[in-house]
């Protein structure tokens, strides 16, 4: 199930302060950076994001998530390291090439929406296309299409201030999708929203992603959000990566106490997949077939109600079966 790498970074540093480049030569520790009056916003981060996956970067506020994602899109110039987009080192790209890449291959959604207050919804969404020099009719047609995708038909003529927070972020999402990017950055897109709306937006986001299959770097400080959405989660602390893993691995094998503190209160059923609890072989009389990636929580009711085992398959091949008992064990936290 390994995907081709779409975006990778190697040993990326971002140090703020008077003389960041002087520090960099000898891989400074956090203490050394602080002692010299600098801030190590991103420290020696290496990661790889596979094509079509949702890669979540998680960490407390101030841990360097926004800086990292801005290094990946080169909004912030890293102090050192390499950023590889489809194998091309972005840090070596000319300004013109960067504009080109951002115009056609990248989209970004912001925590506080970053809508232009003087433009209508339609004009906001069409803005990235306008910048490219697309004719009015063409860009408005495309804008209406994505506005439809996020369910805001009928509000094209509104100004941002006339919309609720949730609606504003839908505009932000539509705008970032207007250019059909293949890399989609979202920096805490739902953090400014009420919990109920946030949940609704997460559903909406998953629905859109199912349709579009973008490569996504998603930032959040909310661990529940991370495990709901992520294929992989990278946990950051003080600018450095602590652990990169699937939600399941993270919960089952936290790398240290910092990660454990996040995972301690997460219900196992939310992260454990059928693949992990499947036993070899398929008994006679299974009630049906379920995918190995399905999380226990989402199929528990189905399995327990049926009262019979289900076959489990991964990429078309049957790898074993799950019993109602195994599902119940996960639900009540026995075993694992």
């Amino acid at each position: 199930m390994t995907r081709p790498v779409k975006l990778a970074c190697r040993h990326v540093w971002k140090i703020y302060g008077p003389h960041p480049e002087r520090l960099l030569g000898n891989a400074p520790t956090l203490e050394a950076i602080r002692a010299s009056g600098h801030v190590g916003a991103v420290r020696d981060v290496s990661l790889a994001v596979g094509e079509g996956e949702i890669f979540v970067i998680m960490g407390l506020s101030g841990s360097g998530k926004s800086t990292l994602v801005r290094c990946l899109s080169r909004l912030v110039e890293p102090t050192g390291g390499e950023i590889l987009y489809d194998g091309e080192d972005l840090l070596k790209a000319s300004p013109a090439r960067m504009i080109e890449i951002r115009r056609h291959h990248m989209g970004m959604v912001f925590q506080h929406f970053a809508l232009l207050p003087h433009l209508t919804v339609l004009e906001n969404v069409a803005f990235p296309l306008e910048v490219q020099g697309l004719a009015r009719a063409a860009r408005e047609a495309r804008a209406r299409e994505v506005i439809g995708l996020v369910g805001l038909q009928g509000r094209e003529g509104h100004f941002p201030r006339q919309l609720s927070g949730g609606q504003q972020q839908r505009v932000g999402i539509a705008r970032s999708l207007a250019v059909e990017p293949d890399l989609w950055f979202l920096d805490e897109p739902f953090s400014a929203l009420d919990p109920l709306i946030r949940r609704e937006m997460q559903e909406e986001f998953l629905r859109i992603q199912k349709q579009l299959k973008k490569t996504i770097v998603f930032i959040t400080h909310d661990f529940d959000e991370a495990i709901r959405l992520a294929d992989h989660i990278a946990i950051m602390k003080d600018g450095a990566l602590v652990q990169v893993a699937s939600p399941e691995e993270l919960v089952l094998a936290p790398a240290d106490d910092y990660v454990r503190a996040f995972t301690a209160h997460v219900s196992r059923a939310k992260v454990i997949t059928l693949g992990r609890i499947a036993t070899k072989g398929v008994p006679a009389g299974v009630a049906g077939t379920l995918p190995a990636e399905a999380r226990v929580e989402t199929v528990a009711e189905q399995v327990v109600t049926a009262g019979r085992p289900f076959a489990v398959e991964r990429e078309g091949a049957v790898i074993g079966h799950v019993t109602p008992q195994a599902v119940i064990d996960v639900l009540i936290g026995r075993g694992t």
């Binding site: 801005r70 899109s73 909004l75 504009i99 080109e100 951002r102 115009r103 056609h104 990248m106 989209g107 970004m108 912001f110 925590q111 506080h112 929406f113 970053a114 232009l116 207050p117 003087h118 803005f127 990235p128 306008e130 910048v131 490219q132 100004f159 950055f185």
Partner: protein, 653 residues
């Protein structure tokens, strides 16, 4: 910490003793001749070199100034054609008008339409009524000359300020270069701008316009920089992520998002331009300012008041329209449809311009307000003044003499009797206490600069007039501010008065004062107090109002009376704000002081004024820079004190 109060008291006592009894050896009272640097000579020589020989390649400096003049002159001429002269054939008195300028009807309707567009019909009617006032009281022609200057100065000032502000935002080094220059420009008194401009560009409307633009531009630079910085970083990031080029980012994102803030700067440019265009009548601006100046020189009381009121009317129109436009910026946009449908007011105004222009050929009253219909208030004002002077001469004179003898002259005598090393020393000590070594070094440097100019006596007189005026302004302004903050109604009334005072160009303040008290230090002091009162009131009221409600409630709960709450809670909390008000009051007082040279003071302002009449750049600039030195020192000292007070409040002790 009883030590420092004791030290200050001892210093004060020593100063008093020195002033009263000591016979100081020469060179101790005022800086000795040996210390003087012939700075004025240097500057004049530098200027002569500039105008006579300086050249970049084949382009001489003279060509450069001519070029700048031409750039300004063309649009100014166009504005005059539109508002004042029309298109004419021939010159001077024999000129025949081919196409008349905009009629009074057209300009008035345009004012109404602009008011309606900016806010509502009420504002439109106010603007229209004030324009009518100008016509009725026979101030139309002068007002249009002034308006033509402003119509050119404001776009130039805004564009220049915007350009520099954008550059400062883009490149750190531009900001680093500009920032101290702007600081200096805002403290150098207005008159001082006029001297070099006069020398470089000669006497006339173009010089006046140039001085106006230079004077009105600095706030726009600052506002632009602040407004661009205030654009949320996410929006800047978005612009980059959308793949904007630098130009696209500025034009399509930064400027539109910053527009509401930028409009505040535009409004400031408008008001400063009006102020300066009036003052610049001294180097040939013409219009209402020239009328006031002429009246002041002739002591023509009625004429002065009439022109002053006309300036006031124009100031109110410009201020209210500017503010409304600023508030509107970024608001809902025009309706859909064809151009005329989207711009009904523009269509109306264009129609009225055409119709009144054609009709005016048949009925002259439509073109120019008929002379027979004008009303003059000159005799009324003259009679009123006469009556006041006859009836209350003794009281007014008694007041004047009393204040002069008991307040002003003693202070003057005291300051003039202080040895200069003591003055510099005290300033340095204060700088050290309030702002550490850097501020102390600044105080020494500025003090020595003043000593080296050879203008120590004038500087001390400036200090005395400024000190007395500021003390009186604070004594009046702080209680008024307290009153304004204490009740909504009082706040509204005082707020309106203060806002109106603030829109008036500084020249206007001289008129009533000269009429009541004639020329001299006392008149100057009153004019300065009136002009500098505004920030004292405003900052006090603002400081009191922004005391956190919880603190007041805590006081109420613990059973404090209103008076106790004011004295023990509100006032102490408002001290930093009041200090900032004091700071502004001093800066305004210094800028006004220079203008009161017209009523015969003997301070640095007079030096600048004399230099202006003699077109002596060196003398004018040195005196102007001396005023700037005093202003900068006062600003930094009080700024440091305010910061100190604030830190102490927030530190909780």
């Amino acid at each position: 910490m009883r030590l420092w109060p004791a030290i200050w008291a001892a210093l004060a006592a020593a100063a008093l003793a020195l002033a009263l009894w000591a016979r100081l050896p020469a060179g101790w009272l005022w800086p000795p001749q040996a210390m003087h640097l012939p700075m004025a000579g240097w500057i004049t020589a530098g200027m002569a070199w500039l105008t006579d020989t300086a050249a970049i390649g084949p382009v001489t400096f003279k060509d450069l100034t001519r070029g700048i003049a031409a750039v300004i002159e063309a649009p100014y001429d166009a504005a005059r054609v539109l508002l004042v002269d029309g298109i004419t054939e021939g010159k001077g008195r024999k000129a025949t008008v081919l196409v008349p300028p905009l009629s009074w009807v057209a300009v008035t309707v345009a004012a109404v339409a602009l008011g309606h567009y900016a806010k509502d019909l009420a504002l439109g009617l106010l603007a229209g009524a004030l324009m009518l006032y100008l016509a009725v009281f026979d101030q139309w022609d002068s007002a249009m000359v002034t308006l033509a200057s402003i119509a050119i100065a404001v776009p130039l000032g805004v564009a220049g300020g915007l350009g520099l502000g954008i550059a400062a935002w883009r490149w750190r080094w531009v900001e680093r270069v500009l920032s101290p220059v702007l600081d200096l420009m805002q403290t150098v008194p207005t008159f001082a701008y006029l001297v070099p401009v006069l020398v470089l560009f000669g006497f006339g409307p173009v010089s006046a316009l140039l001085a106006t633009v230079i004077y009105a531009m600095p706030p726009m630079v600052r506002v632009t920089l602040v407004a661009l910085r205030a654009v949320p970083s996410e929006i800047v990031d978005f612009a980059d992520m959308a793949g904007c080029t630098q130009t696209q980012r500025m034009r399509k994102v930064m400027l539109p998002v910053a527009l509401p803030d930028l409009m505040v700067g535009v409004n400031q440019v408008i008001m400063l331009s009006l102020n300066m265009v009036i003052i610049a009548s001294m180097i040939g601006a013409g219009g209402l300012g020239a009328d006031v100046l002429a009246s002041l020189r002739r002591l023509d009381i009625g004429g002065g008041i009439e022109s002053g009121l006309a300036i006031t009317a124009l100031a109110i129109v410009l201020d209210r329209l500017g503010q409304a436009l600023a508030a509107k910026a970024g608001g809902v946009r025009a309706a859909e449809g064809s151009w005329p449908r989207r711009h009904p007011r523009t269509v109306l105004v264009l129609a009225v311009i055409l119709a009144s222009g054609v009709l005016g050929l048949l009925v002259p009253a439509v073109q120019d307000w008929p002379k027979d219909w004008t009303v003059t208030t000159k005799p009324f004002w003259a009679d009123l003044m006469e009556w006041i002077n006859v009836k209350y001469y003794e009281q007014l004179e008694a007041l004047r003499v009393w204040v002069l003898e008991h307040v002003m002259l003693p202070v003057k005598g005291f300051l003039l009797a202080l040895p200069w090393p003591l003055v510099v020393g005290v300033a340095t000590l204060a700088g050290w206490r309030l702002g550490g070594l850097r501020l102390a070094a600044l105080a020494v440097a500025l003090g020595l600069f003043l000593a080296a100019t050879g203008l120590w006596e004038q500087a001390m007189i400036t200090l005395y007039l400024c000190g007395v005026s500021v003390a009186i302004a604070m004594a009046l302004g702080v209680p008024l501010g307290i009153l304004a903050a204490s009740s909504e109604r009082a706040g509204k009334v005082i707020g309106t008065v203060v806002d109106t005072l603030q829109t008036l160009p500084s020249f206007v303040y001289l008129i009533p004062v000269v009429m009541l008290f004639r020329v001299g230090d006392f008149s100057a002091m009153i004019a300065v107090v009136l002009f500098a009162l505004v920030p004292a009131v405003k900052y006090t009221a603002h400081g009191l109002r922004s005391v956190p409600e919880e603190l007041v409630e805590a006081g109420v709960v613990s059973g404090a009376t209103r008076w106790q709450i004011l004295r023990k809670v509100r006032l102490p909390m408002a001290v930093p704000m009041i200090l900032l008000g004091l700071n502004q009051t001093i800066l305004l007082a210094l800028s006004m002081l220079v203008i009161t040279a017209l009523v015969g003071t003997r301070d640095l302002g007079q030096e600048v004024y004399i230099a202006l009449t003699k077109a002596d750049v060196g003398r004018g600039l040195v005196a102007g820079l001396s005023v700037a030195a005093i202003a900068i020192l006062a600003d930094r000292l009080i700024g440091a004190a305010a910061k100190d007070a604030k830190a102490r409040l927030e530190g909780g002790t």
